[in-house]
C-alpha cells in the first residue's frame, strides 16, 4: 500500500521535474540553431524554428512535448537531426547501464570487503592502509584516475586496450575509473557501520551470551552495518547507470552521459529534458528499491 502511494506520488513529481527542466533549458541564452556561421538569410533560421515549433510560446511547446511523452515519444533531437531522443536513449542507455552495473559490482565488490577488513583490523596497519586506500579512491577524481590507468595499464604494460567499447577487455579500465569513487565511499561507510554496530548494545549482549566473534560479526553486525551502504546504493546506482561524461569521453564509450552534458551545452532541448526525466525515473525507482531493502534488512523498520 505504502509503495503504491509512493508510485502515485512519483507522477506529479515527474511532471514538476519535466516542467522545470523544460523551462530552465529554454531560458538559457542562445538556442539550438545558433551557429558560428549565420545562415544566408534570417528566413532560414525562421524555417528551422517553425519546423521544430520553437516559435511558439514555451507553455505551448511544453504541452506539445507532454502530448508526445504520453505517446512514448521524447521528440526529435535538435542537434542530431537524423535521430530522435528515443534513438539516443535506446542506443546509449544500454551501454551506460552495462558499464554502470559493472562499476556498481566493482564498487560493492571492492568496497564491502575493504570496509569489513579495515573494521575487523581497526587500529592496526591493515586498517590504516585500507582506510588510506579508500580515502584516496574518494579523493582522486575520474579525470585524473582514468588517464593514469590508461598510461599504466594500456600504454606502458599493454595489458588492456586504451579506449573504445567493443570487447569486454575494454570495459575493465572504465569500470575501475567509474567505480573507484563509489568503492571508496562504500568502504568508508561500511567500516563506520561495522564499528558502530560492534559498539551497540545488542552486539555487547550477544557477546555476553558467548556468541562467537565470527558469527557475531557476520550474522548480526553486518546486517546493521550495511544499512548506510544500502541507503547510499540507490542514488549511487542511479548515478552510475546514467553514465559519466568524463569517463565516456576519455574512454570513447558510446553511452548516454556524453549526451546529457553536450545536450545542455548545445541547447538540445528535447535531449536535456528527456534525459533529465530518465534520470529522475531511475532515482525514484531505486530509492523505492532501497526502502524495500530496508524492510528486509532491518527488522526495526516497517512501513504503514
Amino acid at each position: 500500500m505504502y509503495f503504491l502511494k509512493r508510485l502515485i506520488f512519483a507522477i506529479p513529481l515527474l511532471l514538476v521535474i519535466s516542467a522545470l527542466a523544460f523551462w530552465l533549458v529554454h531560458i538559457a541564452p542562445g538556442g539550438p540553431f545558433d551557429r558560428e556561421r549565420a545562415p544566408a538569410s534570417p528566413e532560414i533560421e525562421r524555417n528551422l524554428e517553425a519546423k521544430y515549433h520553437l516559435n511558439e510560446p514555451v507553455w505551448k511547446q511544453y504541452l506539445r512535448y507532454l502530448d508526445g511523452l504520453a505517446h512514448g515519444d521524447f521528440g526529435p533531437s535538435l542537434k542530431y537531426r537524423d535521430h530522435s531522443v528515443n534513438d539516443i536513449i535506446a542506443q546509449g542507455l544500454p551501454v551506460s547501464m552495462t558499464l554502470g552495473s559493472l562499476a556498481f559490482c566493482f564498487a560493492l565488490g571492492i568496497g564491502l570487503p575493504l570496509g569489513f577488513f579495515t573494521a575487523a583490523r581497526r587500529g592496526r596497519w591493515p586498517d590504516y592502509a585500507g582506510s588510506f586506500l579508500a580515502t584516496l579512491a574518494v579523493c582522486v577524481p575520474g579525470f585524473v584516475l582514468a588517464p593514469f590507468l590508461i598510461v599504466v595499464f594500456a600504454l606502458k604494460l599493454k595489458w588492456l586496450p586504451v579506449a573504445l567499447w567493443e570487447s569486454p577487455m575494454q570495459a575493465i579500465l572504465p569500470m575501475i575509473a567509474l567505480g573507484a569513487f563509489s568503492a571508496g565511499k562504500v568502504a568508508r561507510l561500511f567500516r563506520e557501520g561495522m564499528l558502530n554496530a560492534m559498539q551497540s548494545e545488542f552486539v555487547t549482549a550477544a557477546r555476553a551470551k558467548g556468541l562467537g566473534e565470527n558469527r557475531l560479526l557476520l550474522k548480526h553486525a553486518v546486517r546493521i552495518a550495511v544499512l548506510p551502504v544500502v541507503s547510499y546504493s540507490g542514488p549511487m546506482l542511479a548515478d552510475l547507470l546514467t553514465g559519466s561524461f568524463v569517463i565516456e569521453n576519455i574512454f570513447q564509450i558510446p553511452g548516454i552521459g556524453v549526451f546529457l552534458i553536450n545536450g545542455a551545452l548545445n541547447r538540445d532541448y528535447t535531449v536535456v529534458v528527456g534525459l533529465a526525466l530518465l534520470y529522475a525515473v531511475l532515482l525514484i525507482a531505486l530509492n523505492l528499491a532501497v526502502d524495500f531493502a530496508y524492510t528486509w534488512l532491518d527488522p526495526r523498520v516497517k512501513y504503514e
Binding site: 545562415p39 538569410s41 528566413e43 542537434k79 537524423d82 542506443q91 566493482f106 581497526r122 594500456a154 548506510p228
Partner: protein, 601 residues
C-alpha cells in the same frame, strides 16, 4: 521502536549517515588508542576476514561472469575495417542538405556525390556525377551533362530529375537547410527559400532531358563549380526521403549515389561504410570497409592512434595542444596551410571603437609573431589580412603590421594620448572543448598585456559558454570578440562576403556602402583578374583603413597518419580527403586481388 513511519525512518537514516561521517572524523584521532579485543576475538576476526575475502571472491566471480556475458552477448561479430579513421566530433547529421560541419562532410562525401566532386590532391572541383559542363560566356548559364551509367546503390538509375529534386529540396523552406544559402546563386533560389515564391519551376534549375540539367545563376559566379562539389548540392534519393521523412538517412537499404554505402551509424560509436559496387567509378575505390569514429578528446585520439587502433586522425582539434611542439617533429604528423583565419571582431557601434583610428591603433600594437610562436605553436602564419594565402582566384593584400609607435600616435590623435581617458573594455571569448579553450584564453591574456604595455589601455577578459557567446555576437553585446572563419569554398568571396552590411555573419555593426558596392562589382565581373583586383580593394578597406576586424593568424591543418602505411591522403587547403582514394598498405592485396588494374597506379 517496533514500527516507524516512513517519514521518521527517512530522517533517521539521514541522521545515521551524518553520525557515521562525524564518527569517522572523531575516530581518526583515537584510532591509536583503541586496542582490539582479546586474543580469542582476534582469532574470530581472522576467520571473519577469511569470509570477507571469500565474499569478495564471490563478487569478483560475479564481475567476471558479467564480463563473459558481455563477451557472448555484446561483442559485434563483424569483419575488421580496412581503414579506421578518427573523424572529430560526432556527426550532427549525414543528410547532405542539412550538414554544416567538416566531420559530417568528410563522411558524406563518401556516401553521396554531386555534379562535381573534390580532387583528392588539390580539393579543386572535378567532374563527379556530371560528365561535362558547358558554361555560357557571361558565366550565368551552366549546362551539366550527366554520366549515362549512373545508378543508385540499390539499382535504379540516377537521372536529371534526381538532381532537380535534390537541389529544390535544399531550397524548400520545409527542409530547413542551414546551408541553403549556397544555392542562392541560382536564379530565384533565395526567393523560393524565403517563401517569396512558391513555384519551384521558377528556380533557375531545369531538366532538359534525362541526362542534362541547365542552371541559371544571378551573377557570374566563378566558384560555382566549387559549390557543385559541396555536400549541400549532392544528389539524394527522392523515394526514400518521401517514404521515411526526416529520418530517412537511417532507412535500410539507404540508396547511395557515392562510392560508399552506409552500413550503420551508431551514435557516438562509429559510422561504418562499405564500398558501393554500383558507383560509376567503383573500379578506383581503394578500400572496402571504412570505419569513421567520433572522438571527443585529443588525448583519447592520440592514445588510439599510438596503440594502433586507428590509422588516420584528421581533425586538428584532435591534436593535444600541450604536446603540439613535440608531435610536429614526428614524421607521421603532417601540417599544412588551411583555409581558415583567426581574428578579432570590434563592435564598431560602441565607443571608443567607433573611431577607425582606435581600431587601427589596437591592430598595430599586436605582435602577431609572438602569438603564433608562443601560444599556438603549430606553425601558423601571422595574418595581416583576412583571406588566407593560397586562396584560389586571388592574391592577398598587405594589411597592418606590427608598429607600436604608429599605434601610440594614432591613439593620441583619437584623443587618448598614452591611453589616458581610454575606458576599460572587455574582450569576449568562448569556452571550447579540448585545447581550444586554453588557446583562446592565452591569446586573450597576451593581447591584454600587449595593449597595456604598448598603449596603456586596460582590458578585462570575459569568457562565455559557446551558445551564450554566439548570442552575444549576434546581438552586438560585446566590445571586442575573438572570432574565426573557415572558408566554405576556395574563393575570396567566402571570406569577404561576410562583411557586407546585411550579412548575418558580419556581427560587427560595421556597414560600408563602398565595401558593399565593391563586393557586388566583383561578383558581376567575369574577368578573374579584374575580379581579384576589386576584391583586393575591398579587403584593403576592411583590414587597413576601416579595420572592423584584426586578423591574427591563419590556421594550419594537422593530420596524423603513417605515410608508409596510408596512401591517398593529400594535404590541401580545404583539408578535404575523398574516402575512395585512401588505402592502407597492409590491405593492398585484398583490393588488388579484385581490381587488378589498380596495381599499376
Amino acid at each position: 521502536m517496533k514500527s516507524a513511519s516512513a517519514r521518521s525512518r527517512k530522517s533517521e537514516a539521514g541522521n545515521r549517515k551524518r553520525q557515521f561521517d562525524t564518527a569517522d572524523k572523531k575516530r581518526g584521532a583515537t584510532w591509536f588508542g583503541v586496542p582490539p579485543s582479546g586474543g580469542r576475538a582476534n582469532a574470530g576476526v581472522q576467520t571473519a576476514t577469511g569470509r570477507a575475502l571469500r565474499l569478495s571472491q564471490a563478487f569478483f566471480c560475479l564481475l567476471i561472469s558479467a564480463v563473459c556475458f558481455l563477451n557472448a552477448g555484446c561483442i559485434h561479430r563483424e569483419p575488421p575495417a580496412d581503414l579506421t579513421i578518427l573523424n572529430g566530433a560526432e556527426p550532427e547529421t549525414l543528410d547532405p542538405a542539412l550538414l554544416t560541419g567538416q566531420p559530417e562532410m568528410r563522411i558524406v562525401i563518401g556516401m553521396f556525390e554531386g555534379l562535381m566532386r573534390f580532387d583528392p590532391r588539390t580539393a579543386r572541383p572535378i567532374p563527379g556525377l556530371a560528365r561535362s559542363v558547358e558554361i555560357s560566356p557571361d558565366g550565368r548559364i551552366y549546362t551539366f551533362h550527366l554520366r549515362t551509367n549512373l545508378v543508385w546503390s540499390t539499382g535504379p538509375p540516377i537521372t536529371a530529375d534526381d538532381v532537380w529534386y535534390s537541389w529544390i529540396r535544399v531550397l524548400n523552406p520545409a527542409t530547413a537547410s542551414d546551408y541553403a544559402g549556397q544555392l542562392y546563386y541560382l536564379k530565384n533560389g533565395e526567393a523560393f527559400n524565403t517563401g517569396k515564391i512558391k513555384d519551384p519551376s521558377l528556380v533557375g534549375i531545369h531538366v532538359l532531358d534525362k541526362f542534362t540539367v541547365r542552371v541559371e545563376l544571378n551573377h557570374p559566379t566563378p566558384f560555382f563549380l566549387d559549390v557543385c562539389a559541396l555536400p549541400v548540392t549532392y544528389i539524394v534519393p527522392r523515394q526514400t526521403i518521401e517514404k521515411y521523412g526526416d529520418r530517412w538517412i537511417m532507412a535500410k537499404p539507404l540508396p547511395s549515389s557515392g562510392p560508399y554505402e552506409l552500413v550503420y551509424w551508431r551514435l557516438n560509436d562509429k559510422v561504418r561504410l562499405k564500398k558501393n559496387p554500383r558507383y560509376w567509378d567503383a573500379a578506383h575505390t581503394r578500400s572496402d570497409i571504412i570505419d569513421l569514429l567520433p572522438v571527443g578528446s585529443p588525448s583519447a585520439a592520440l592514445n588510439l592512434y599510438m596503440s594502433g587502433q586507428a590509422d588516420i586522425v584528421w581533425d586538428k582539434e584532435l591534436v593535444p595542444t600541450e604536446l603540439v611542439d613535440l608531435l610536429l617533429k614526428r614524421p607521421d604528423f603532417h601540417k599544412f596551410d588551411y583555409l581558415g583565419t583567426y581574428f578579432i571582431r570590434f563592435n564598431v557601434t560602441r565607443k571608443p571603437f567607433d573611431d577607425p583610428r582606435v581600431r587601427q591603433a589596437l591592430a598595430l600594437a599586436i605582435d602577431k609573431e609572438r602569438i603564433v610562436t608562443k601560444i599556438t605553436r603549430a606553425g601558423e602564419q601571422p595574418a595581416s589580412h583576412l583571406v588566407p594565402d593560397g586562396t584560389a582566384n586571388y592574391l592577398p593584400v598587405g594589411g597592418l603590421g606590427y608598429d607600436p609607435a604608429r599605434a601610440r600616435q594614432l591613439l593620441a590623435e583619437a584623443g587618448y594620448p598614452g591611453g589616458q581617458g581610454f575606458p576599460r573594455f572587455e574582450y569576449t571569448f568562448n569556452a571550447a572543448a579540448g585545447g581550444a579553450a586554453e588557446m583562446h584564453q592565452n591569446i586573450a591574456i597576451e593581447l591584454q598585456q600587449m595593449w597595456r604595455d604598448e598603449l596603456g589601455i586596460h582590458m578585462d577578459l570575459r569568457q562565455l559558454e559557446w551558445k551564450v557567446y554566439l548570442n552575444a555576437m549576434d546581438h552586438l553585446d560585446y566590445s571586442l570578440a575573438r572570432s574565426s572563419w573557415i572558408g566554405d569554398y576556395n574563393d575570396p568571396q567566402t571570406f569577404l562576403g561576410m562583411f557586407t552590411s546585411n550579412d548575418g555573419n558580419n556581427r560587427t555593426g560595421w556597414k560600408s556602402a563602398t565595401y558593399d558596392a565593391l563586393i557586388t562589382e566583383a561578383n558581376e565581373q567575369t574577368d578573374l583578374k579584374k575580379r581579384a583586383e576589386i576584391f583586393q580593394r575591398a579587403e584593403t578597406l576592411l583590414v587597413s583603413n576601416q579595420v572592423p576586424i584584426i586578423p591574427l593568424f591563419f590556421y594550419v591543418g594537422i593530420n596524423y597518419f603513417d605515410t608508409n602505411k596510408i596512401q591517398g591522403v593529400y594535404e590541401n587547403i580545404l583539408d578535404d580527403h575523398p574516402l575512395q582514394y585512401i588505402r592502407k598498405a597492409g590491405r593492398e592485396s585484398r583490393v588488388e586481388g579484385r581490381e587488378p588494374e589498380n596495381a599499376n597506379q
